[in-house]
């Protein structure tokens, strides 16, 4: 297994003043696997993702990507190395079409972003790649819709399409199913199921059904600290996890 680790953290810490949002976390993420992260609210999951994509700088510790420490590079360089992410709150270009949203992503790869004169509409190839990304998440029929006019679930799909359009090696997803109806959730679950065959995915989610169904590896965090990592079944039966996170029994009254 060791050989296909693409991202690792070593003793990663993030302190907000006195608060240890993340304390000494060492994890390894493997290629072509979906790594679920769960934990109570405020456990530091979003903080972790924010550091893995360069949005926050770690207080201490290392992030190692394909064997190279990247803790000190600029935020935008994370994406350039193939680390793509979606945000906890939908984060798209609301005033542009879905296609245009993806084009922005593709253009970074294709170059030409410093071209002052070449029309942005002149490159067929760019459009094609963007369309492919939309197809991948099942949004092809919304290609020319303005992003603010599609439904919430579709917006989340679009966000994933944008990340895919940057051809990442690694996807960091923060609660992609939040606020989504059953049907839409199912769509995303199916999507992730296919995507994890190609990418390494780190998924933070409170929807237990989804996370149990999808995860190859599952990490539980509590109060900034690592609790357990293991397969879904291992984690599910772990007494500490039940106490700290899942609680006893079902969520039904």
């Amino acid at each position: 297994m060791e050989n296909n680790v693409i991202l690792e953290t070593e003793g990663l810490c993030k302190y907000w003043g006195g608060l240890k949002a993340l304390d000494n976390l060492s994890l390894a993420f493997h290629d072509k696997q979906l790594h679920g992260i769960v934990g109570p609210n405020g456990a530091g999951k979003s903080t972790l993702l924010n550091m893995l994509c360069g949005h926050y700088k770690p207080t201490s510790g290392e992030i190692i990507y394909r064997g190279e420490s990247i803790s000190s590079i600029k935020p935008f360089e994370f994406a350039r190395r193939g680390i793509g992410r979606s945000f906890q709150k939908t984060n798209i270009y609301t005033n542009a079409t879905c296609l245009e949203n993806c084009c922005v992503a593709v253009q970074r790869l294709m170059g030409g972003s410093f071209n002052f004169f070449r029309s942005r509409y002149s490159q067929k190839m760019l459009d094609d790649i963007a369309t492919k990304a939309l197809e991948k998440v099942g949004l092809a029929h919304r290609r020319d819709y303005i992003a603010s006019q599609i439904s919430y679930g579709e917006q989340r799909q679009l966000e994933i399409a944008m990340v895919l359009a940057t051809s990442p090696a690694l996807l960091l997803l923060d609660e992609p199913m939040a606020g989504m109806g059953h049907e839409e959730s199912q769509l995303i679950i199916n999507l992730l199921n296919t995507l994890k065959k190609e990418y390494c995915i780190v998924l933070v989610e409170h929807d237990m059904d989804a996370i149990f169904e999808l995860s190859d590896q599952l990490t539980v965090m509590v109060d900034g600290q690592h609790l357990v990592t293991g397969s879904v079944d291992e984690v599910r039966e772990d007494a500490r996890v039940k106490e700290a996170y899942l609680g006893q029994g079902d969520e039904v009254y």
């Binding site: 949005h55 360089e77 984060n91 005033n95 245009e100 972003s113 004169f117 940057t166």
Partner: protein, 322 residues
């Protein structure tokens, strides 16, 4: 297509042909030619501001700094009693302003929102006070440009800058080029990233763009064009004064811009014409023109929610809809 909106195309077809013919109607009256020239020059200035504010989301209250620099750089660089070449100095002034903008941009663009407004203002005020207090450049009284540049290219002289009509056409041409340039820039692949940054900088960074560089380049380009406008303004009457650099110049440009319609590029021309036109009319009509000017501005904010350009666009679209 470069001009997508109907209002925009209509404007292009009405304004430029009219502007082209204007001097023929005004032949007997040099003043109007001069006045229109000033409006063209101001439009270039306001347009460059529109690119910054409306397209890049970089609100500055220090754009007048470059307007003034355009003038002062000429005074500083050009020998006092010798006609220099217009094109060469255009290049010098734009290049030096761009270099200055690059340095200032490196500092200024680290902040955003109101903080950026204030820090750009700070730099503009510094230059304002520098030239206001300078002995060499006439202090608050300003300086004269005694000899205007000549405009030959390879010995072929097309314009005579001392001839108001020639100068008018030069400015009109500059305005047209600026408009076209910005339009192309906005539509370009670079423009796509700039759009993205304005709407959602966080997302754009997460896609792997170094947004600082794009902002910086936009800032540099707009500043250089602002300086070019200032250079033209200086040449028009051959007079430079620190008030070109004052924050009220920036503020007035902002007013023209908002009036015209932010982010529409051609709205800059509409805004400038409206503002200057109102100013001119009211001033000739009553000594208390400020009262009416203020009242009209307030009225326009209430009525034209997206500026005059936005109003036109809505009007034409509504007609199309029916």
């Amino acid at each position: 297509m470069l001009f997508k909106k109907r209002a925009e195309r209509l404007f292009m077809w009405v304004f430029f042909p009219l502007a082209l013919l204007m001097p023929m109607f005004l032949e007997q009256n040099e003043y109007y030619v001069n006045k229109l020239t000033t409006i063209m020059i101001l439009s270039i200035f306001v347009m460059s501001l529109d690119y910054l504010v409306g397209k890049c989301g970089l609100i500055t209250l220090g754009h007048a700094m470059f307007y003034g620099l355009g003038g002062y750089l000429f005074v500083i660089l050009a020998p006092e009693y010798e006609a220099v070449n217009f094109w060469v100095y255009t290049f010098y002034i734009c290049a030096i302003s761009a270099a200055i903008a690059l340095v200032i941009g490196l500092l200024v663009l680290r902040t955003s929102g109101i903080y950026m407004i204030m820090i750009t203002l700070a730099f503009a005020q510094m230059t304002f006070y520098y030239f206001s207090g300078s002995i060499d450049y006439g202090g608050t009284d300003g300086v004269f440009v005694y000899v205007k540049p000549e405009t030959s290219i390879f010995g072929l002289s097309l314009f005579d800058l001392d001839n108001p009509t020639h100068f008018y056409y030069l400015c009109l041409l500059s305005l047209f080029n600026t408009l076209l340039f910005f339009k192309v820039l906005v539509r370009s692949q670079f423009g796509r990233v700039v759009d993205a940054i304005q709407v959602n900088p966080g997302r754009t960074t997460a896609l792997g763009y170094n947004i600082f560089v794009y902002k910086l380049m936009s800032y540099v380009v707009a500043s250089a064009l602002g300086a070019y406008a200032g250079y033209l303004f200086t040449l028009q009457y051959g007079f430079v004064n620190p008030s070109m650099l004052s924050w009220t110049t920036s503020g007035t440009a902002l007013v023209m811009l908002i009036l015209g319609g932010i982010g529409s590029i051609y709205g800059a021309i509409l805004g400038t014409i409206t503002y200057e036109g109102l100013h001119y009319t009211l001033e000739h009509w009553t000594e208390h023109w400020m009262l009416f000017m203020g009242g009209l501005i307030i009225l326009m904010v209430m009525v034209f929610k997206k500026g005059i350009a936005g109003f036109l666009e809505d009007l034409l679209e509504k007609r199309d809809g029916k």
